[in-house]
């Protein structure tokens, strides 16, 4: 089993709560504290964003976080160095979320080797669809890591072939458009998940995009195997800056409890 799939299996009810934060926003020192605090608050897997200059799949909240982190001159090596410090006191499962060029430019294999060395689980690359995945998947698999596949409300018949090759978990994009808080999620998540399960009954599916309340998280987790919350947390960090750690921990605790009580 992969480190990512293990993270689902290790949760109290087999359902994972996955918070996302952008590394280096507001500073890497705060990111380090946030990772540890979110792990303590019940996060099963943490999605750590390496900032990119042009995050085309993100809404305004996470775009701004990327630019703030880059203004701090945060680099890929700096993010790995921060993870190294986290590893001195926590083995919380971690997955990197970034864009293809960040990994490609670093050297796909070198990126995977560094992640493996740090006991991380792999990458989520929103601009690498199924057709382009092999270029990344071969070196990551060789390092024992997963390149997570995404499915979207427009995927339809593609879901089966994507699921067949998926590793770790399937990231189920709840809505059209980019990341950001939504008052309502209208997509039939259950139908998407059941298409995955038809092909791969044991492969976890977690839902992201638009989730901000414990109620939404519980509902999404009930229809799948987990919930991912990004923009709502990143917004809080953007507003509270250095003072964000405690409020984020409290928020994550509520979201994690909601996911862990889902049936």
């Amino acid at each position: 089993m992969s480190r990512i799939a293990d993270a689902f299996a290790a949760s109290p009810n087999g359902k994972a709560f996955i918070p996302f934060i952008t590394a280096g926003d507001p500073t890497l020192a705060v990111t380090e504290k946030l990772v540890l605090a979110m792990a303590d608050a019940g996060a099963d897997l943490i999605e750590l964003g390496i900032p990119f200059s042009d995050p085309t799949a993100e809404g305004p909240v996470i775009q701004d976080a990327n630019l703030r982190a880059l203004r701090n001159r945060v680099t890929t090596d700096d993010v790995f160095a921060m993870v190294e410090r986290v590893r001195a006191c926590s083995d919380v499962p971690l997955v990197i979320m970034t864009y293809a060029n960040v990994v490609f430019s670093y050297g796909i294999e070198r990126f995977a080797a560094r992640q493996a060395e740090l006991g991380m689980g792999g990458v989520i690359l929103p601009d690498v669809p199924h057709e382009e995945k092999e270029e990344f998947d071969v070196p990551f698999s060789a390092a024992g890591l997963d390149v997570v596949s995404l499915i979207a409300p427009t995927s339809h018949e593609r879901i089966r072939s994507i699921a067949a090759d998926a590793k770790g978990f399937v990231y189920c994009v709840s809505s059209l458009g980019v990341t950001g808080v939504r008052s309502q999620i209208t997509t039939d998540i259950g139908a998407m998940v059941s298409l995955v399960k038809d092909v791969r009954p044991d492969l976890p599916c977690a839902v992201g995009f638009g989730i901000s309340t414990p109620e939404q998280a519980a509902r999404m987790a009930a229809a799948s195997d987990g919930a991912i919350v990004g923009s709502a947390i990143v917004k809080l960090i953007g507003e509270l800056r250095e003072g964000c750690v405690e409020p984020v921990a409290t928020y994550v605790r509520d979201l994690a409890a909601a996911v862990h009580s889902a049936r």
């Binding site: 990119f52 200059s53 042009d54 085309t56 799949a57 809404g59 305004p60 775009q63 630019l67 880059l70 680099t75 890929t76 090596d77 700096d78 160095a81 293809a100 060029n101 960040v102 990994v103 490609f104 430019s105 670093y106 050297g107 796909i108 294999e109 070198r110 995977a112 080797a113 560094r114 060395e117 929103p126 601009d127 690498v128 669809p129 199924h130 057709e131 382009e132 995945k133 092999e134 270029e135 071969v138 070196p139 060789a142 390092a143 995404l150 499915i151 979207a152 409300p153 427009t154 995927s155 339809h156 593609r158 994507i162 994009v173 059209l176 458009g177 980019v178």
Partner: protein, 621 residues
């Protein structure tokens, strides 16, 4: 330095893995060599230490000063010939080298002593002249072996001998930019080592070094691309976009494949081209310019005379018609200076479609007239504040909008870029330029042109100008990039001349970016060339050498803008003036019986105020 921690970790860890072929550049001895190495970014750089018999030898006391110049991420290899173990260990412990390469008569006992002295990863070199040499290499306890034809004499050896080697190895001996791809395909080495093949007269040659690393990366990346990937030009292209858009681009490809061969569709498009856009565009013999430059006969392909004043209308009419056939009722587009936005708004008005144009807030202020034109044509213009608030951000924002609303909406992309099938669709619609110019040239001159010149931003007018000559080997194809204030400054947009291979906006191609892959802000006086990437087909034409890409500065382009206005009574777009500038350099070096075509992609009315300001006149629209 943040990258230091990454040093020395890579060799042993990556030996077992598959991946791109590594490059080692060996025998560096001067600080200027290191500058070139840092630019070329190989995986390893080698120094021949304390071996005076070699002209590349560096004394061990001088090595630290040299090796500290090497950029983070490039591992430094000390190459030793029977050196005392303590000397090797001292250099490693002092941080002057990351890897030791043994090139003399070192035996297993030597390797064991070196290992107990320090943790340096070890490469052992073997001359391969017979099968027995291969057996010795296989038995070595070094972390990696290097297989060479001798003591760095630089002749290529019989590659068939090494095909049977079962451990990862570095291939060396006589490798150059010209033969390295064949060696890689033939023996699949873990890495390649080059030294004499990147020198001229015993000195490291910048051009040869850059070409060699590019050749390895190009061949390696071809092997690395996913087998399911579609829409490749050499190693470039592909479809690097969110899953949400995949069915939309697949549907677009299917529709295009159908309609491009549909006589009715083509008849409708030809009718729009001829009766609405004013095609065919003239091939004008520039008599005064030819006489003044005193060389080749200069012809201008007058895309500036098209409706809306530029080549952009060719692509937009094609895509709008295709979108209409697909049942789409709404067009969205990005625009930089506003030319593509105006063309899209024009087509939408003609065909009764809704139109939304995304434009960087900065550009909206600089091009207020075009914003008004688009609104006049019934389009909605949405300002983009994200990032640098210029063209690349407008492209990103249009992609974001498309993921939000796909069913009724077509993204009318403005250049030969983005995910497949856009680079092919846009090229095919722009290829009308060379289809016409080829026939026109044959009619007036009775022969093909000797050179075709066009400016390149994303590259749509250039690919349209080149396309029907690609198989005419005698026709030089020359793309003119925007150097801005110069390709040795940060204020440039010359992607092929200064960029690196990357993945952005849906495609693999060359991009202006920093060492961590962050897309760089670019600059040119010409808003239409102010984009950090280039279309994948141009990147492939550059790799194969079929087309040449030159860089033209702001100053040269402005001079050409004024020159053509004065000499021929034609005011060119500042974009097109980049091609005119290179024609002014090239024509005098050609014979009077030779000919060239310069594509005037657009007219210059839009630029007049900006050029006046460039010349110090306080003129505003």
């Amino acid at each position: 330095m943040s990258g230091k921690g990454a040093r020395g970790e890579g060799l042993a860890a990556s030996l077992g893995a598959t991946g791109p072929t590594r490059v080692k550049l060996c025998g560096m001895s001067r600080p200027e060599d290191i500058e070139t190495v840092n630019e070329a970014r190989p995986d390893y750089v080698g120094f021949v230490v304390d071996f005076p018999r070699s002209h590349r030898s560096v004394a061990s006391e001088e090595l630290p000063a040299l090796s500290t110049l090497v950029a983070p991420g490039i591992q430094r290899v000390g190459v030793f010939v029977d050196a005392p173990v303590e000397n090797v260990a001292r250099l490693f412990v002092r941080g002057a080298i990351d890897v030791a390469q043994l090139h003399g008569h070192e035996d297993e006992g030597y390797i064991a002593r070196l290992r107990s002295a320090c943790g340096v990863p070890i490469i052992q070199a073997f001359s391969v002249r017979a099968a027995s040499d291969v057996a010795c290499a296989e038995a070595s306890s070094a972390d990696l072996v290097l297989l060479d034809n001798g003591q760095g004499t630089g002749e290529a050896f019989d590659w068939s001998l090494v095909r049977g080697v079962r451990r990862p190895f570095l291939l060396a001996g006589g490798l150059t930019a010209a033969n390295v791809a064949q060696a890689m395909a033939s023996v699949h080495p873990w890495g390649v080592d080059m030294s004499s093949g990147i020198e001229t007269d015993g000195v490291k040659d910048r051009q040869k070094i850059l070409a060699a690393v590019r050749a390895v990366q190009a061949e390696g990346s071809k092997m690395g691309n996913s087998s399911a990937s579609r829409g490749r030009f050499g190693i470039h292209g592909g479809q690097y976009i969110p899953e949400t858009l995949m069915n939309a681009v697949l549907e677009l490809e299917e529709a295009y494949d159908h309609y491009k061969n549909d006589p009715e569709f083509n008849a409708e498009l030809t009718d729009l081209f001829n009766n609405y856009a004013g095609r065919p565009s003239r091939l004008y013999f520039a008599t005064n310019m030819t006489a003044d430059l005193g060389g080749a006969k200069v012809y201008l392909k007058r895309e500036d005379l098209n409706h809306t004043g530029a080549h952009k209308i060719n692509n937009v009419l094609g895509q709008a018609l295709l979108a209409q056939k697909m049942g789409k009722t709404r067009l969205i587009a990005e625009t930089g200076a506003g030319q593509h936005g105006v063309a899209t708004a024009t087509a939408a008005a003609l065909m009764g479609m809704e139109c939304v144009v995304y434009m960087g807030r900065e550009d909206m202020e600089r091009q207020a007239l075009n914003v008004y034109r688009m609104r006049l044509l019934g389009a909605e213009v949405r300002g983009v504040d994200a990032g640098t608030a210029t063209l690349k951000d407008a492209v990103s924002e249009t992609f974001r909008e498309w993921t939000q609303r796909i069913d009724d909406t077509h993204y009318c992309l403005g250049s030969v870029m983005g995910p497949h099938p856009f680079p092919t669709i846009v090229r095919d619609f722009q290829a009308v330029i060379s289809r016409e110019s080829r026939a026109q040239m044959l009619e007036v001159e009775g022969k093909l042109p000797d050179a075709v010149l066009a400016c390149v931003g994303g590259g749509s007018n250039a690919i349209g100008s080149f396309y029907h000559y690609i198989h005419d080997e005698g026709v030089r194809l020359i793309g003119c990039e925007a150097a801005g204030r110069g390709i040795d400054t940060w204020e440039t947009a010359a992607t092929i001349n200064t960029g690196r291979l990357g993945i952005f906006h849906g495609m693999k191609s060359y991009f202006c970016q920093d060492e961590y892959g962050q897309i760089a802000p670019v600059y040119s006086i010409s808003a239409g060339l102010d984009y950090p990437g280039v279309g994948p087909e141009h990147a492939a034409l550059h790799d194969s050498g079929r087309a040449e890409y030159v860089a033209i500065t702001d100053d040269e382009a402005v001079d050409a803008f004024e020159y053509l206005s004065r000499t021929e009574g034609v005011i060119p777009a500042i974009e097109s003036a980049h091609a005119v500038a290179y024609a002014m350099k090239l024509a005098p070096s050609m014979r009077p019986d030779q000919t060239m075509i310069v594509t005037l992609s657009g007219r210059g009315d839009k630029d007049v105020a900006a050029i006046a300001r460039y010349r110090g006149e306080d003129l505003h629209e």
